[in-house]
Protein backbone atom coordinates (compact mmCIF):
# COMPACT_ATOMS: atom_id res chain seq x y z
CA UNK A 1 0.00 0.00 0.00
CA UNK A 2 2.99 2.28 0.25
CA UNK A 3 4.25 1.38 -3.21
CA UNK A 4 3.62 4.83 -4.60
CA UNK A 5 6.27 6.06 -6.97
CA UNK A 6 8.03 9.30 -6.07
CA UNK A 7 6.64 11.02 -9.16
CA UNK A 8 3.07 10.79 -7.94
CA UNK A 9 1.68 13.87 -6.23
CA UNK A 10 1.67 13.69 -2.44
CA UNK A 11 -2.10 13.28 -2.38
CA UNK A 12 -1.69 9.73 -3.64
CA UNK A 13 0.24 8.74 -0.52
CA UNK A 14 -1.42 6.76 2.18
CA UNK A 15 -3.98 4.12 2.53
CA UNK A 16 -7.52 5.37 2.28
CA UNK A 17 -8.20 2.19 0.30
CA UNK A 18 -6.78 -0.06 3.03
CA UNK A 19 -9.00 -3.02 3.96
CA UNK A 20 -11.19 -2.90 7.04
CA UNK A 21 -9.04 -5.17 9.16
CA UNK A 22 -6.30 -2.57 9.05
CA UNK A 23 -8.36 -0.10 11.00
CA UNK A 24 -6.45 -0.77 14.24
CA UNK A 25 -3.24 -0.05 12.42
CA UNK A 26 -4.70 3.15 11.00
CA UNK A 27 -5.51 4.35 14.48
CA UNK A 28 -2.09 3.42 15.75
CA UNK A 29 -0.61 5.59 13.06
CA UNK A 30 -2.31 8.62 14.61
CA UNK A 31 -0.52 8.12 17.94
CA UNK A 32 2.06 10.89 17.24
CA UNK A 33 -0.86 13.32 17.00
CA UNK A 34 -1.84 12.68 20.61
CA UNK A 35 0.35 15.27 22.42
CA UNK A 36 -0.87 18.02 20.09
CA UNK A 37 -4.47 16.87 20.45
CA UNK A 38 -4.30 16.85 24.25
CA UNK A 39 -2.67 20.29 24.46
CA UNK A 40 -5.15 21.84 22.04
CA UNK A 41 -8.13 20.25 23.76
CA UNK A 42 -7.03 21.32 27.25
CA UNK A 43 -5.80 24.85 26.64
CA UNK A 44 -7.56 25.91 23.48
CA UNK A 45 -10.86 24.18 22.88
CA UNK A 46 -11.52 23.78 26.62
CA UNK A 47 -11.51 27.48 27.54
CA UNK A 48 -13.51 28.35 24.44
CA UNK A 49 -16.24 25.86 25.27
CA UNK A 50 -16.14 27.05 28.83
CA UNK A 51 -16.58 30.63 27.62
CA UNK A 52 -19.83 29.59 25.96
CA UNK A 53 -21.06 28.44 29.37
CA UNK A 54 -19.75 31.45 31.32
CA UNK A 55 -21.26 33.93 28.92
CA UNK A 56 -24.67 32.75 30.07
CA UNK A 57 -23.89 33.08 33.80
CA UNK A 58 -23.24 35.94 36.23
CA UNK A 59 -19.73 34.79 37.23
CA UNK A 60 -17.50 37.55 38.57
CA UNK A 61 -13.73 37.46 38.60
CA UNK A 62 -13.44 37.26 42.40
CA UNK A 63 -14.93 33.80 42.08
CA UNK A 64 -16.76 33.79 45.42
CA UNK A 65 -20.46 33.17 45.70
CA UNK A 66 -22.75 30.99 43.71
CA UNK A 67 -22.70 31.28 39.95
CA UNK A 68 -26.16 31.65 38.53
CA UNK A 69 -27.40 30.94 35.09
CA UNK A 70 -28.70 34.18 33.64
CA UNK A 71 -29.54 33.15 30.09
CA UNK A 72 -29.11 35.87 27.54
CA UNK A 73 -28.74 38.68 30.10
CA UNK A 74 -25.10 39.38 29.19
CA UNK A 75 -25.94 39.62 25.53
CA UNK A 76 -28.97 41.75 26.26
CA UNK A 77 -26.76 44.10 28.28
CA UNK A 78 -24.33 44.24 25.37
CA UNK A 79 -27.12 45.25 23.00
CA UNK A 80 -28.02 48.19 25.24
CA UNK A 81 -24.50 49.21 26.18
CA UNK A 82 -23.45 52.33 24.25
CA UNK A 83 -19.81 51.78 25.24
CA UNK A 84 -19.92 48.34 23.61
CA UNK A 85 -21.37 49.73 20.37
CA UNK A 86 -18.79 52.49 20.45
CA UNK A 87 -16.10 49.82 20.71
CA UNK A 88 -17.56 47.82 17.81
CA UNK A 89 -17.65 50.93 15.63
CA UNK A 90 -14.05 51.79 16.53
CA UNK A 91 -12.95 48.21 15.84
CA UNK A 92 -14.61 48.42 12.43
CA UNK A 93 -12.90 51.74 11.69
CA UNK A 94 -9.59 50.31 12.90
CA UNK A 95 -9.86 47.13 10.79
CA UNK A 96 -11.06 48.88 7.63
CA UNK A 97 -8.72 51.84 7.99
CA UNK A 98 -5.52 50.14 9.00
CA UNK A 99 -5.83 46.66 7.43
CA UNK A 100 -8.26 46.60 4.50
CA UNK A 101 -7.30 50.04 3.17
CA UNK A 102 -3.93 50.87 4.71
CA UNK A 103 -1.82 47.71 4.90
CA UNK A 104 -3.43 46.05 1.90
CA UNK A 105 -3.06 49.00 -0.49
CA UNK A 106 0.36 50.08 0.70
CA UNK A 107 1.59 46.47 0.64
CA UNK A 108 0.41 45.99 -2.95
CA UNK A 109 1.83 49.37 -3.96
CA UNK A 110 5.22 48.53 -2.43
CA UNK A 111 5.31 45.10 -4.08
CA UNK A 112 4.49 46.69 -7.45
CA UNK A 113 6.99 49.53 -7.09
CA UNK A 114 9.76 47.18 -6.02
CA UNK A 115 9.53 44.94 -9.07
CA UNK A 116 12.62 45.38 -11.21
CA UNK A 117 14.31 47.85 -8.84
CA UNK A 118 18.00 47.40 -8.17
CA UNK A 119 19.22 45.39 -5.19
CA UNK A 120 20.26 48.32 -3.02
CA UNK A 121 16.84 49.96 -3.28
CA UNK A 122 15.06 46.70 -2.58
CA UNK A 123 17.24 45.91 0.43
CA UNK A 124 16.87 49.35 2.00
CA UNK A 125 13.09 49.63 1.56
CA UNK A 126 12.47 45.97 2.41
CA UNK A 127 14.72 46.27 5.45
CA UNK A 128 12.85 49.28 6.85
CA UNK A 129 9.38 47.86 6.22
CA UNK A 130 10.36 44.48 7.69
CA UNK A 131 12.01 46.15 10.71
CA UNK A 132 8.72 47.84 11.59
CA UNK A 133 7.10 44.40 11.42
CA UNK A 134 9.78 42.58 13.40
CA UNK A 135 10.04 44.81 16.48
CA UNK A 136 7.91 43.59 19.41
CA UNK A 137 4.54 45.35 19.59
CA UNK A 138 5.29 47.11 22.87
CA UNK A 139 8.44 48.63 21.37
CA UNK A 140 6.45 49.66 18.29
CA UNK A 141 4.07 51.37 20.69
CA UNK A 142 6.91 53.27 22.42
CA UNK A 143 8.27 54.39 19.04
CA UNK A 144 4.91 55.85 18.04
CA UNK A 145 4.20 57.30 21.47
CA UNK A 146 7.38 59.38 21.25
CA UNK A 147 6.93 60.10 17.54
CA UNK A 148 3.48 61.63 18.08
CA UNK A 149 4.18 63.25 21.46
CA UNK A 150 3.49 66.97 21.88
CA UNK A 151 7.21 67.70 21.56
CA UNK A 152 8.01 64.63 19.47
CA UNK A 153 9.59 64.11 16.06
CA UNK A 154 6.45 64.67 14.00
CA UNK A 155 5.60 67.95 15.72
CA UNK A 156 9.21 69.15 15.43
CA UNK A 157 8.84 68.64 11.68
CA UNK A 158 5.38 70.19 11.53
CA UNK A 159 5.97 73.24 13.73
CA UNK A 160 7.00 75.32 10.71
CA UNK A 161 3.61 74.62 9.13
CA UNK A 162 1.82 75.37 12.39
CA UNK A 163 0.13 71.98 12.60
CA UNK A 164 1.77 70.67 15.74
CA UNK A 165 -0.58 69.26 18.36
CA UNK A 166 -0.83 66.32 20.73
CA UNK A 167 -1.97 63.76 18.18
CA UNK A 168 -2.74 61.08 20.75
CA UNK A 169 -5.38 63.41 22.22
CA UNK A 170 -6.68 65.20 19.17
CA UNK A 171 -6.81 62.23 16.77
CA UNK A 172 -6.27 58.97 18.69
CA UNK A 173 -7.91 56.73 16.09
CA UNK A 174 -5.93 58.24 13.24
CA UNK A 175 -2.78 57.77 15.33
CA UNK A 176 -3.35 54.08 16.08
CA UNK A 177 -4.44 53.42 12.48
CA UNK A 178 -1.22 54.93 11.11
CA UNK A 179 0.84 53.03 13.66
CA UNK A 180 -0.83 49.77 12.68
CA UNK A 181 -0.33 50.42 8.97
CA UNK A 182 3.34 51.09 9.70
CA UNK A 183 3.60 47.90 11.69
CA UNK A 184 1.62 45.50 9.51
CA UNK A 185 2.33 46.48 5.90
CA UNK A 186 5.29 44.09 5.65
CA UNK A 187 2.98 41.07 5.73
CA UNK A 188 0.87 42.24 2.78
CA UNK A 189 4.00 43.29 0.93
CA UNK A 190 5.47 39.77 1.29
CA UNK A 191 2.21 38.14 0.19
CA UNK A 192 1.93 40.37 -2.90
CA UNK A 193 5.60 40.07 -3.72
CA UNK A 194 5.19 36.28 -3.85
CA UNK A 195 1.95 36.54 -5.84
CA UNK A 196 3.41 38.96 -8.40
CA UNK A 197 6.41 36.73 -9.03
CA UNK A 198 3.95 34.05 -10.16
CA UNK A 199 2.41 36.26 -12.84
CA UNK A 200 3.79 34.98 -16.19
CA UNK A 201 5.91 37.71 -17.87
CA UNK A 202 4.61 36.66 -21.33
CA UNK A 203 1.16 37.92 -20.37
CA UNK A 204 2.52 41.33 -19.45
CA UNK A 205 4.51 41.48 -22.69
CA UNK A 206 1.47 40.49 -24.74
CA UNK A 207 -0.52 43.26 -23.03
CA UNK A 208 2.25 45.78 -23.78
CA UNK A 209 2.29 44.78 -27.44
CA UNK A 210 -1.46 45.31 -27.54
CA UNK A 211 -0.77 48.82 -26.36
CA UNK A 212 -2.13 48.54 -22.81
CA UNK A 213 -1.09 51.31 -20.43
CA UNK A 214 0.51 50.56 -17.08
CA UNK A 215 -2.79 51.09 -15.30
CA UNK A 216 -4.69 48.88 -17.80
CA UNK A 217 -2.12 46.10 -17.36
CA UNK A 218 -2.58 46.30 -13.60
CA UNK A 219 -6.38 46.45 -13.80
CA UNK A 220 -6.98 43.78 -16.48
CA UNK A 221 -3.99 41.44 -16.19
CA UNK A 222 -2.27 41.56 -12.81
CA UNK A 223 -5.17 42.09 -10.42
CA UNK A 224 -7.40 39.33 -11.87
CA UNK A 225 -4.46 36.91 -11.77
CA UNK A 226 -3.63 37.56 -8.12
CA UNK A 227 -7.21 37.91 -6.89
CA UNK A 228 -7.01 34.79 -4.72
CA UNK A 229 -3.95 36.21 -2.96
CA UNK A 230 -5.81 39.49 -2.47
CA UNK A 231 -8.79 37.83 -0.82
CA UNK A 232 -6.60 35.53 1.33
CA UNK A 233 -4.50 38.47 2.40
CA UNK A 234 -7.58 40.52 3.30
CA UNK A 235 -8.93 37.68 5.45
CA UNK A 236 -5.62 37.15 7.25
CA UNK A 237 -4.90 40.79 8.00
CA UNK A 238 -8.48 41.29 9.14
CA UNK A 239 -8.04 38.41 11.58
CA UNK A 240 -4.75 39.85 12.82
CA UNK A 241 -6.17 43.35 13.26
CA UNK A 242 -9.50 42.40 14.77
CA UNK A 243 -7.97 41.38 18.10
CA UNK A 244 -5.06 43.84 18.17
CA UNK A 245 -4.42 44.90 21.74
CA UNK A 246 -0.83 45.77 22.67
CA UNK A 247 -0.21 48.58 20.21
CA UNK A 248 -3.37 50.54 21.11
CA UNK A 249 -2.97 49.76 24.81
CA UNK A 250 0.56 51.20 24.86
CA UNK A 251 -0.21 54.24 22.71
CA UNK A 252 -3.53 55.49 24.10
CA UNK A 253 -4.79 52.88 26.59
CA UNK A 254 -8.14 53.25 24.80
CA UNK A 255 -8.34 56.93 25.61
CA UNK A 256 -8.81 59.77 25.89
CA UNK A 257 -12.05 58.67 27.54
CA UNK A 258 -12.96 55.79 25.29
CA UNK A 259 -12.14 57.52 22.03
CA UNK A 260 -9.88 54.68 20.87
CA UNK A 261 -11.31 51.84 22.94
CA UNK A 262 -11.74 49.02 20.43
CA UNK A 263 -13.60 45.88 21.50
CA UNK A 264 -10.50 43.97 22.74
CA UNK A 265 -9.61 46.94 24.98
CA UNK A 266 -13.18 47.25 26.24
CA UNK A 267 -13.24 43.52 26.89
CA UNK A 268 -10.00 43.82 28.84
CA UNK A 269 -11.35 46.73 30.90
CA UNK A 270 -14.61 44.97 31.75
CA UNK A 271 -12.98 41.61 32.58
CA UNK A 272 -9.81 42.60 34.39
CA UNK A 273 -10.46 46.09 35.74
CA UNK A 274 -14.15 45.94 36.64
CA UNK A 275 -14.13 42.19 37.32
CA UNK A 276 -17.18 41.69 35.10
CA UNK A 277 -15.93 38.30 34.02
CA UNK A 278 -19.11 36.95 32.46
CA UNK A 279 -19.75 40.18 30.58
CA UNK A 280 -16.16 40.17 29.31
CA UNK A 281 -16.51 36.53 28.30
CA UNK A 282 -19.67 37.27 26.37
CA UNK A 283 -17.71 39.93 24.46
CA UNK A 284 -14.85 37.48 23.91
CA UNK A 285 -17.39 35.09 22.46
CA UNK A 286 -18.60 37.73 20.02
CA UNK A 287 -15.00 38.38 18.93
CA UNK A 288 -14.40 34.64 18.57
CA UNK A 289 -17.50 34.18 16.42
CA UNK A 290 -16.50 37.07 14.15
CA UNK A 291 -12.95 35.65 13.95
CA UNK A 292 -14.32 32.16 13.26
CA UNK A 293 -16.41 33.52 10.37
CA UNK A 294 -13.43 35.16 8.71
CA UNK A 295 -11.30 32.09 9.37
CA UNK A 296 -13.91 29.84 7.75
CA UNK A 297 -14.07 32.06 4.66
CA UNK A 298 -10.29 31.93 4.45
CA UNK A 299 -10.36 28.11 4.69
CA UNK A 300 -12.83 27.87 1.83
CA UNK A 301 -10.56 30.05 -0.24
CA UNK A 302 -7.32 28.19 0.13
CA UNK A 303 -8.77 24.65 -0.15
CA UNK A 304 -6.35 21.90 0.86
CA UNK A 305 -5.00 20.02 -2.13
CA UNK A 306 -7.11 16.95 -2.74
Amino acid sequence: MTATTPTLPPAVRGDTSAPRRDRGRGLRRLVPLLPALVLLALFFAGPMLWSVYTAFTDAALSGSGAVEFVGLANFDRMLHDPAFWNSILLTLIFVVGSAVIGQNTLGLLLALLMRGRNRVTRNVVNGLVLAAWAVPETVAGFCWYAFLHRTGTLNELLQHVGLSQNWLYTAPMVAVIFANVWRGTAFSMLVYDAALSDVPPELMEAASIDGASGWQKLRYVTLPLIRRSIVSNLMLITLQTLAAFGLIFVMTGGGPGNASQTTPLYMYEQSFKFYELSYGTAMALVLLVVGALFSAIYLRLIRLED
Binding site: T5, L30, L110, V125, A194, S232
Partner: protein, 270 residues
Protein backbone atom coordinates in the same frame (compact mmCIF):
# COMPACT_ATOMS: atom_id res chain seq x y z
CA UNK B 1 12.90 58.66 -17.26
CA UNK B 2 10.26 60.77 -15.57
CA UNK B 3 8.49 57.54 -14.67
CA UNK B 4 11.58 56.09 -13.03
CA UNK B 5 12.11 59.32 -11.11
CA UNK B 6 8.51 59.18 -9.87
CA UNK B 7 8.90 55.57 -8.73
CA UNK B 8 12.16 56.28 -6.91
CA UNK B 9 10.77 59.37 -5.19
CA UNK B 10 7.70 57.39 -4.08
CA UNK B 11 9.92 54.65 -2.67
CA UNK B 12 12.13 57.22 -0.96
CA UNK B 13 9.10 58.89 0.62
CA UNK B 14 7.74 55.56 1.89
CA UNK B 15 11.17 54.59 3.23
CA UNK B 16 11.46 57.90 5.13
CA UNK B 17 7.96 57.46 6.58
CA UNK B 18 8.93 54.00 7.82
CA UNK B 19 12.18 55.29 9.28
CA UNK B 20 10.83 58.37 11.12
CA UNK B 21 9.01 56.62 14.00
CA UNK B 22 12.25 54.77 14.84
CA UNK B 23 14.44 57.85 14.96
CA UNK B 24 13.78 59.23 18.43
CA UNK B 25 14.01 55.76 20.00
CA UNK B 26 17.43 55.27 18.39
CA UNK B 27 18.75 58.77 19.08
CA UNK B 28 17.50 59.22 22.64
CA UNK B 29 19.04 55.92 23.72
CA UNK B 30 22.54 57.42 23.36
CA UNK B 31 21.69 60.88 24.73
CA UNK B 32 22.13 61.31 28.46
CA UNK B 33 18.99 62.38 30.31
CA UNK B 34 16.83 62.50 27.20
CA UNK B 35 13.07 62.62 27.58
CA UNK B 36 10.18 62.61 25.16
CA UNK B 37 11.11 65.92 23.51
CA UNK B 38 12.86 65.30 20.22
CA UNK B 39 15.64 67.82 20.85
CA UNK B 40 18.99 66.51 19.67
CA UNK B 41 21.81 67.69 21.94
CA UNK B 42 24.73 66.08 20.03
CA UNK B 43 25.96 64.54 23.26
CA UNK B 44 26.82 60.90 22.90
CA UNK B 45 26.95 58.59 25.88
CA UNK B 46 26.06 55.04 26.82
CA UNK B 47 24.87 56.12 30.25
CA UNK B 48 21.26 55.09 29.48
CA UNK B 49 22.41 51.57 28.75
CA UNK B 50 24.52 51.53 31.92
CA UNK B 51 21.53 52.70 33.94
CA UNK B 52 19.25 49.90 32.82
CA UNK B 53 21.82 47.09 32.67
CA UNK B 54 21.13 45.73 36.13
CA UNK B 55 19.51 42.57 37.43
CA UNK B 56 16.15 44.09 38.22
CA UNK B 57 15.54 46.12 35.05
CA UNK B 58 17.04 44.08 32.24
CA UNK B 59 18.81 40.86 33.18
CA UNK B 60 16.10 39.07 35.15
CA UNK B 61 13.23 39.92 32.77
CA UNK B 62 15.39 38.94 29.79
CA UNK B 63 16.29 35.66 31.50
CA UNK B 64 12.57 35.06 32.15
CA UNK B 65 11.90 35.78 28.48
CA UNK B 66 14.57 33.27 27.46
CA UNK B 67 13.09 30.63 29.77
CA UNK B 68 9.47 31.24 28.77
CA UNK B 69 9.96 31.68 25.00
CA UNK B 70 12.70 29.02 24.88
CA UNK B 71 10.62 26.32 26.60
CA UNK B 72 7.58 27.25 24.54
CA UNK B 73 9.62 27.00 21.33
CA UNK B 74 11.15 23.63 22.33
CA UNK B 75 7.82 22.08 23.33
CA UNK B 76 6.09 23.50 20.27
CA UNK B 77 8.76 22.23 17.88
CA UNK B 78 8.74 18.73 19.40
CA UNK B 79 4.96 18.34 19.59
CA UNK B 80 4.50 19.86 16.12
CA UNK B 81 7.08 17.46 14.64
CA UNK B 82 5.24 14.45 16.05
CA UNK B 83 1.89 15.77 14.87
CA UNK B 84 3.19 16.61 11.42
CA UNK B 85 4.48 13.09 10.75
CA UNK B 86 1.15 11.27 10.37
CA UNK B 87 -0.38 14.35 8.72
CA UNK B 88 2.35 14.40 6.09
CA UNK B 89 2.88 10.66 5.64
CA UNK B 90 -0.55 9.03 5.75
CA UNK B 91 -3.66 10.39 4.16
CA UNK B 92 -6.57 9.56 6.43
CA UNK B 93 -9.92 11.21 6.80
CA UNK B 94 -9.13 12.05 10.42
CA UNK B 95 -5.83 13.63 9.41
CA UNK B 96 -7.54 15.87 6.89
CA UNK B 97 -10.16 16.92 9.40
CA UNK B 98 -7.43 17.69 11.89
CA UNK B 99 -5.59 19.81 9.32
CA UNK B 100 -8.72 21.83 8.69
CA UNK B 101 -9.18 22.41 12.42
CA UNK B 102 -5.52 23.43 12.72
CA UNK B 103 -5.85 25.95 9.91
CA UNK B 104 -9.11 27.24 11.33
CA UNK B 105 -7.49 27.68 14.76
CA UNK B 106 -4.61 29.74 13.35
CA UNK B 107 -7.19 32.41 12.53
CA UNK B 108 -8.87 32.64 15.93
CA UNK B 109 -8.08 35.76 17.97
CA UNK B 110 -5.91 34.73 20.96
CA UNK B 111 -6.84 37.98 22.71
CA UNK B 112 -10.42 36.77 22.94
CA UNK B 113 -9.39 33.35 24.26
CA UNK B 114 -7.51 35.00 27.15
CA UNK B 115 -10.61 35.92 29.21
CA UNK B 116 -11.86 32.32 29.50
CA UNK B 117 -8.28 31.07 29.96
CA UNK B 118 -7.82 33.49 32.85
CA UNK B 119 -11.06 32.30 34.37
CA UNK B 120 -10.04 28.67 33.98
CA UNK B 121 -6.55 29.28 35.39
CA UNK B 122 -7.81 31.17 38.43
CA UNK B 123 -10.19 28.34 39.17
CA UNK B 124 -7.38 25.77 39.15
CA UNK B 125 -4.93 28.10 40.92
CA UNK B 126 -2.66 28.35 37.90
CA UNK B 127 -2.43 32.14 37.76
CA UNK B 128 1.14 33.39 38.23
CA UNK B 129 2.57 29.97 37.39
CA UNK B 130 5.35 29.99 34.79
CA UNK B 131 4.85 26.34 33.65
CA UNK B 132 1.11 26.90 33.18
CA UNK B 133 1.85 30.03 31.13
CA UNK B 134 4.27 28.05 28.98
CA UNK B 135 1.62 25.34 28.51
CA UNK B 136 -0.89 27.87 27.21
CA UNK B 137 1.67 29.56 24.97
CA UNK B 138 2.64 26.18 23.51
CA UNK B 139 -0.99 25.32 22.80
CA UNK B 140 -1.61 28.70 21.16
CA UNK B 141 1.55 28.43 19.04
CA UNK B 142 0.80 24.86 17.93
CA UNK B 143 -1.70 25.36 15.09
CA UNK B 144 0.64 27.48 12.99
CA UNK B 145 3.69 25.39 13.92
CA UNK B 146 1.99 22.12 12.93
CA UNK B 147 0.93 23.67 9.62
CA UNK B 148 4.45 24.92 8.84
CA UNK B 149 6.05 21.65 9.95
CA UNK B 150 3.69 19.57 7.80
CA UNK B 151 4.57 21.66 4.75
CA UNK B 152 8.29 21.27 5.43
CA UNK B 153 7.88 17.53 5.93
CA UNK B 154 5.94 17.17 2.67
CA UNK B 155 9.07 18.21 0.81
CA UNK B 156 11.08 15.29 2.22
CA UNK B 157 10.68 12.49 -0.38
CA UNK B 158 8.82 9.43 0.77
CA UNK B 159 10.84 6.75 -1.03
CA UNK B 160 13.67 6.91 1.54
CA UNK B 161 11.30 5.77 4.26
CA UNK B 162 9.75 3.00 2.24
CA UNK B 163 12.90 0.92 2.61
CA UNK B 164 12.85 1.51 6.34
CA UNK B 165 9.17 0.60 6.57
CA UNK B 166 9.80 -2.69 4.74
CA UNK B 167 12.51 -3.40 7.29
CA UNK B 168 9.88 -2.97 9.96
CA UNK B 169 10.81 0.45 11.31
CA UNK B 170 8.06 2.19 13.28
CA UNK B 171 7.02 5.82 12.94
CA UNK B 172 9.41 7.02 15.61
CA UNK B 173 12.41 5.39 13.96
CA UNK B 174 11.54 6.66 10.48
CA UNK B 175 10.95 10.14 11.85
CA UNK B 176 14.07 10.21 13.99
CA UNK B 177 16.52 8.49 11.62
CA UNK B 178 15.32 9.51 8.17
CA UNK B 179 12.97 12.48 8.11
CA UNK B 180 14.38 14.75 10.82
CA UNK B 181 18.00 14.81 9.59
CA UNK B 182 16.65 15.96 6.21
CA UNK B 183 14.55 18.78 7.61
CA UNK B 184 16.87 20.52 10.04
CA UNK B 185 16.25 23.89 8.26
CA UNK B 186 12.48 23.46 8.64
CA UNK B 187 12.81 22.55 12.29
CA UNK B 188 15.06 25.57 12.87
CA UNK B 189 12.56 27.88 11.23
CA UNK B 190 9.66 26.58 13.35
CA UNK B 191 11.75 26.88 16.52
CA UNK B 192 13.02 30.40 15.81
CA UNK B 193 9.67 31.64 14.58
CA UNK B 194 7.88 30.39 17.71
CA UNK B 195 10.62 31.81 19.92
CA UNK B 196 10.47 35.26 18.33
CA UNK B 197 6.68 35.39 18.44
CA UNK B 198 6.58 34.50 22.14
CA UNK B 199 9.48 36.85 22.93
CA UNK B 200 7.29 39.68 21.73
CA UNK B 201 4.07 38.27 23.20
CA UNK B 202 2.74 40.90 25.59
CA UNK B 203 -0.89 40.08 26.28
CA UNK B 204 -0.63 36.45 27.43
CA UNK B 205 2.06 36.90 30.14
CA UNK B 206 0.53 40.29 31.05
CA UNK B 207 -2.70 38.49 31.99
CA UNK B 208 -1.31 35.22 33.39
CA UNK B 209 1.83 36.31 35.31
CA UNK B 210 1.38 38.79 38.16
CA UNK B 211 4.66 38.82 40.12
CA UNK B 212 7.25 41.14 38.58
CA UNK B 213 10.03 38.63 39.28
CA UNK B 214 8.32 36.06 37.05
CA UNK B 215 7.36 38.39 34.22
CA UNK B 216 9.23 38.37 30.91
CA UNK B 217 10.74 41.53 29.39
CA UNK B 218 7.67 42.11 27.19
CA UNK B 219 5.64 42.86 30.34
CA UNK B 220 8.27 44.56 32.54
CA UNK B 221 9.18 46.91 29.68
CA UNK B 222 5.55 48.04 29.66
CA UNK B 223 5.67 48.56 33.44
CA UNK B 224 8.87 50.55 32.98
CA UNK B 225 7.16 52.63 30.29
CA UNK B 226 4.13 53.44 32.43
CA UNK B 227 6.35 54.38 35.39
CA UNK B 228 9.31 56.19 33.80
CA UNK B 229 8.39 56.58 30.12
CA UNK B 230 7.68 60.31 30.49
CA UNK B 231 10.82 61.24 32.40
CA UNK B 232 13.43 58.71 31.36
CA UNK B 233 12.58 57.96 27.75
CA UNK B 234 16.28 57.51 26.98
CA UNK B 235 16.48 54.62 29.43
CA UNK B 236 13.30 53.11 28.03
CA UNK B 237 14.81 53.42 24.56
CA UNK B 238 18.00 51.67 25.69
CA UNK B 239 15.92 48.88 27.27
CA UNK B 240 13.83 48.61 24.08
CA UNK B 241 16.93 48.26 21.94
CA UNK B 242 18.42 45.56 24.18
CA UNK B 243 15.07 43.76 24.12
CA UNK B 244 14.70 44.02 20.33
CA UNK B 245 18.23 43.04 19.23
CA UNK B 246 17.73 39.26 19.74
CA UNK B 247 14.57 39.39 17.59
CA UNK B 248 16.34 41.16 14.73
CA UNK B 249 19.26 38.72 14.89
CA UNK B 250 16.99 35.67 14.86
CA UNK B 251 14.88 37.03 12.01
CA UNK B 252 18.01 37.52 9.92
CA UNK B 253 19.05 33.97 10.79
CA UNK B 254 15.69 32.65 9.59
CA UNK B 255 15.89 34.52 6.31
CA UNK B 256 19.39 33.04 5.83
CA UNK B 257 18.04 29.51 6.42
CA UNK B 258 15.25 30.12 3.92
CA UNK B 259 17.70 31.45 1.36
CA UNK B 260 16.82 35.09 1.63
CA UNK B 261 13.12 34.65 0.99
CA UNK B 262 10.70 34.76 3.87
CA UNK B 263 8.38 31.94 2.92
CA UNK B 264 6.31 32.15 6.08
CA UNK B 265 3.60 33.57 3.91
CA UNK B 266 3.67 30.49 1.70
CA UNK B 267 0.47 29.25 3.27
CA UNK B 268 -1.33 32.37 2.09
CA UNK B 269 -0.67 32.16 -1.60
CA UNK B 270 -3.74 30.04 -2.28
Amino acid sequence: MARRLAIYSALLLIAVCFLLPFTWLLISSVQPGSGLSAKVTWEFSLVNFQDVLNAETVFRPMLNSVIISGSTAIFTAVVATFAAYPLSRYRTRFGRGFLYIILFATGLPITAVMVPVYAMYSRFNLIDSVPATIAFMTASALPFAVWMMKNFMDSVPLNLEEAAWTDGAGWFQSLHRIVLPLMVPGLTVVFIFTFVLQWGNFFVPFILLLSPEKQPASVTIYTFFSQYGQVAYGQLAAFSILYTVPVILLYSAVSKVLGGAFSLTGAVKG
